[in-house]
């Protein structure tokens, strides 16, 4: 009301209109105790305003009426001059606005006066009353247009360029055989990078604050004149359209449940990613600002402010809820875990904001819907997580994995797990009540970090244990005992490297890492024993005859050829591990061979010796290089 009042010029001099009004107001207040709150407010404002002039309570005379009529005519003229004017009153400046509001005030005063004494009025006065209703309606319609135009022209949006959903990132593309998740893909994947930007816009104004007093003046005036419903309707429409439009700039499309169920993973993934961002922007930034705007404009009428806010936001909010619910209709595929985690995380995070947006009964169904959705996403995320383990457990191979290298399953699972520490808090809360058998007992041994014993850590270790069993089964498919060792060594080494090189190390813990290093080292030993023990046994000489020595030398060469032919096709992708393996093999084999030749070369005779020590040393370097075809013994390495 303050604005309305301030727009009234305090023109000096005695004025019969004021006299009349003063009288009317007093009479009205005395006559009716059931006055509408708005009217009562208007009256008290009017009264205090009038009293500043110190006008005596005198009887209204006929001369007074004609002067009222004159002033009224002027006011109507002023209002009508705005009827067809396309520019806003705001643009016309403060004094024009003052004049408009003053004219409106006079018209309203006349109406209030007549309503107080409907019986007494004569036909002439009645005519003035009728004209006043029309003038008021013209003014109100003009203000309604003003409201729309100003809201529209001065709206402000959260800058969409900051909010563009980054689409450059690749995502996990799931495949039943776990083949598709490569190391490179995962490195960049992280969904939390844009958080800062959102909070920067936490308190953005949806409307230029400069025009706020003007809008408030319109609101107070229209409410005072009982045009509150048209005000609300116009306000709701404009603001709802602005929100719709904003959703379009965010490129948040609406999808039916049928669409969401049919959508291929790539599209759905994009839509889920977008939802995660949009739902946050809308609840934390946009609607928070919208509510604030409603309160600033309609703060004096609290329940109306709430009702308007709900009407403005309901449709969009429901569409966002619907998408969440539609996504939860899909079956829980492991590849969806990360998206579900982020959707759930956001849904839980915004609950505080949602509670603030819809605190009371009127908005309770939206508030409850958000809580329900969050719960649903929690269940779905947990189910997806548990399904992941199930998928690993049921991953079976029928043929041995080529070259004994790192299995797709290992790559997929480890890279997948690497994504999860980002969601540690979320996963811990989701998994805390789901019991799991764990390989590491409570705080014994060398682990001291609490994170190592968190629910998430236990579950991750359990997933890896499941994977290890699967790898053991896959290892059984190899006929060659040595290759089996190489396979296990490779995969365990890969697991350890992934854990050590990422946040996973705090979850898996030192004891787990130590045990797994020991495990692949045991496989190194196993390999060396199964490949080389029998071969090196040929090089032990116990007073053998020349013939026997020559035979042993020949057999060694044959066996070595055989190893060479096979093991050059094997794979040890980790260069460090390969070097270690080359060195330790070389030390054993070359030393034994050198010793054997040193003792016996003369007796055997040079033409019976196929390989020199250098030959052996060089050829050993070819092992585990994963050659596509059997390496020829006549390769360049040979003299």
């Amino acid at each position: 009301m303050a604005e309305f009042e301030s727009k009234l010029p305090v023109s000096g001099g005695k004025n019969h209109v004021f006299e009349a009004c003063h009288h009317v107001v007093k009479a009205l207040r005395a006559s009716d105790n059931n006055l509408d709150a708005n009217l009562r407010k208007l009256l008290s404002d009017l009264e205090s305003h009038l009293s500043t002039f110190g006008i005596a309570d005198t009887k209204v005379e006929d001369a007074g009426f004609s002067e009222i009529k004159e002033r009224f005519k002027e006011a109507v003229k002023k209002i009508c001059s705005w009827e067809t004017n396309q520019s806003t009153i705001l643009e016309a400046g403060l004094s024009a606005a003052n004049q408009f509001f003053q004219a409106l005030y006079e018209v309203q005063s006349v109406l209030v006066g007549f309503k107080a004494f409907p019986i007494k009025t004569n036909p002439k006065e009645k005519d003035v009353y009728n004209q006043a209703t029309v003038a008021l309606d013209i003014a109100m319609l003009r203000l309604e247009k003003e409201l729309r135009d100003v809201l529209h022209q001065h709206k402000q949006h959260v800058q969409p360029e900051y909010l563009a959903v980054s689409s450059h990132r690749k995502d996990i593309v799931y495949d039943e055989s776990f083949v598709s998740l490569d190391d490179e893909v995962v490195v960049e994947a992280s969904s939390h990078e844009d958080d800062e930007q959102i909070s920067d816009f936490y308190n953005s104004d949806l409307l230029d604050p400069i025009v706020l007093p003007h809008i408030k003046a319109i609101a107070n005036t229209m409410f005072a004149c009982e045009y509150d419903q048209p005000f609300c309707e116009a306000f709701i429409i404009v603001q709802r359209e602005a929100l719709d439009e904003y959703m379009v700039t965010l490129e948040m499309e609406r999808f039916s449940c049928v669409d969401v169920l049919k959508m291929d993973w790539e599209d759905l993934n994009g839509a889920m990613r977008k939802w995660t961002r949009v739902v946050k922007i809308i609840t934390q930034v946009y609607l928070t600002s919208e509510k604030q705007l409603c309160e600033e404009i309609l703060g004096d009428f609290e329940s109306i402010s709430t009702a308007c806010f709900i009407e403005i936001s309901k449709d969009t909010v429901l569409s966002l809820l619907n998408f969440g619910e539609a996504v939860a209709l899909r079956s829980c595929k492991p590849e969806m875990l990360e998206r579900f985690l982020s959707m759930y995380e956001v849904s839980a995070e915004i609950l505080v904001d949602v509670d603030n947006l819809f605190p009371d009964e009127t908005g309770s169904f939206l508030r409850i819907a958000f809580h329900d959705l969050s719960k649903k996403l929690a269940d779905h995320t947990t189910a997806t997580f548990l399904k992941f383990k199930y998928a690993i457990a049921s991953d079976e191979s029928t043929r041995p994995f080529h070259g004994g290298g790192i299995h797709h399953l290992t790559r997929y699972v480890m890279n997948y797990l690497k994504l999860l520490p980002e969601y540690t808090d979320t996963l811990n809360s989701l998994l805390q009540n789901i019991h799991i058998d764990d390989s590491i007992p409570e705080k014994t041994g060398e682990d001291v970090l609490a994170s190592t014993f968190s629910p998430m850590a236990r579950h991750l270790r359990s997933i890896v244990t499941t994977m290890e069993s699967s790898l053991e089964r896959k290892a059984q498919l190899y006929a060659d005992e040595a290759l089996k060792s190489i396979f296990l060594m490779n995969n365990f080494r890969y697991m350890v490297q992934k854990v050590k090189g990422s946040e996973l190390r705090h979850l898996f813990g030192d004891e787990w890492i130590r045990k797994h290093i020991a495990s692949y080292q045991r496989n190194v030993t196993n390999y060396e024993r199964s490949t080389w023990s029998s071969i090196l046994a040929l090089l032990t000489d116990n007073n053998n005859s020349v013939k026997s020595l020559r035979e042993r030398c020949r057999l060694f060469s044959l066996a070595f050829d055989d190893v060479y032919k096979n093991q050059t096709r094997w794979s040890v992708p980790d260069p460090e591990l390969r070097d270690d393996l080359h060195i330790s093999t070389s030390v054993k084999v070359v030393q034994s061979y050198r010793g054997f030749l040193g003792r016996n070369a003369v007796r055997i005779g040079e033409k019976h010796i196929r390989y020199t020590c250098e030959d052996i040393e060089n050829m050993l370097l070819d092992l585990f290089e994963c050659s596509p075809s059997p390496r020829s013994l006549l390769s360049s390495r040979r003299r």
Partner: protein, 415 residues
Amino acid sequence: MRPAQDNQGSFLGRISIRRNQFVDVNNEQEQEDLELFQKHIADRFTELLSPPQPPPSDETNTVASVAATEQIMSVTWLRKLMDVFLCCEAEFKAILLMGRDPTQISKPPFDRLVPEMLDRSIKALDICTAVVNGIDSVRHYQRLAEIAVTALEQRPLGDGNVRRAKRALANLVVALSLEDKENVSGGGGGGGGGNKTTERSWSFGRRSGGSSAASKGGATIGQLKSSSWAVGRNWSAAKQIHAMTANLTPPRGNEAAGLPQPMFIMSTVMVFVMWVLTAAVPCQERSGLANHLPVPPKHLNWAQSLIGIHEKIGDEWKKKEKKGSAGLMEEMTRMEKLGHSLMEFADGFHYPAEKDAAESAAAQVAEMAEICRRMEEELVPLQQQIREVFHRIVRSRAEILEVLEQAGKVSAPVV
């Protein structure tokens, strides 16, 4: 891998353990259940078709208003319909899942019937969404009517009040008589000064009819209106309803005596309820829906009342379709009638009001006010009920899928 308590912990799960023990032995029990189910369906829809008459009363006003609230397609009736649906659904789910060997519903003919049913329920979800959105449009009509009521309640009634009422009424009448194609569209901004624009329904009124100032005022904003679909791009209520009925045929032969029967009944009820909802309120794209619903065979006892309701609504719709209508909700129909009549009053109004005309208008204003009051009381609860139906359908689908998954695990070796 799924923890077993998921199923066992639920209410149905617990009952199923108990019933499991004798259901296989006792086929008669199942027959009895099926008959009871059909009887309940019949009873519930009979009550909807002809609601119990209120006791005679001296106050004619009360009788009229009670009768009106109970009338088919009134918002109160629609809320009752939602309750009926929820009851039928709960009973059906009990029949389908309780005490049943999971493998049974994964074998033929259920390997076809169950997925078809689940498919239908997904389509029903989208219809729920569209209808909730449509009710928002009705809320908009309600607000327009309220503006007219407030204006016409002013005493003494001046030209200015009537002017204001006329504007609101014109917008209301136009909005109420628009067809979906115009009412709900994603086409973006419409033509500037014309009465017919392509916008979403709820934002309609302010654009059309009324004084020149109103049209001019609204047009600027209207043209900038961005496209927005209630459900999804190119989604059509008519197509969804049509697809839901596509493979819906009564079970024959042996199947008619067993589980396929209640499945058919429940599906019919679901399609019917969704059809009624789309008929009641503005809904994204529903052209031709008046004729879409295939009526179940007349000889089926449980279907009699349902067919009766269907015919009533169908007739009304066909009548309305010729001139276009935003929805058949009883309150909207009356609102439209009152709107036209009050428009007439407003057009012929000269200050000061003529006594007779004013009195008859006052009665109509009071009726309009009563409709608004009822809408204010019941529309949002109806929206919430439809959301509840949505969630119920989601939950049932999840439960059925869970049972199927268990069946899958039983038949496939678990590693």
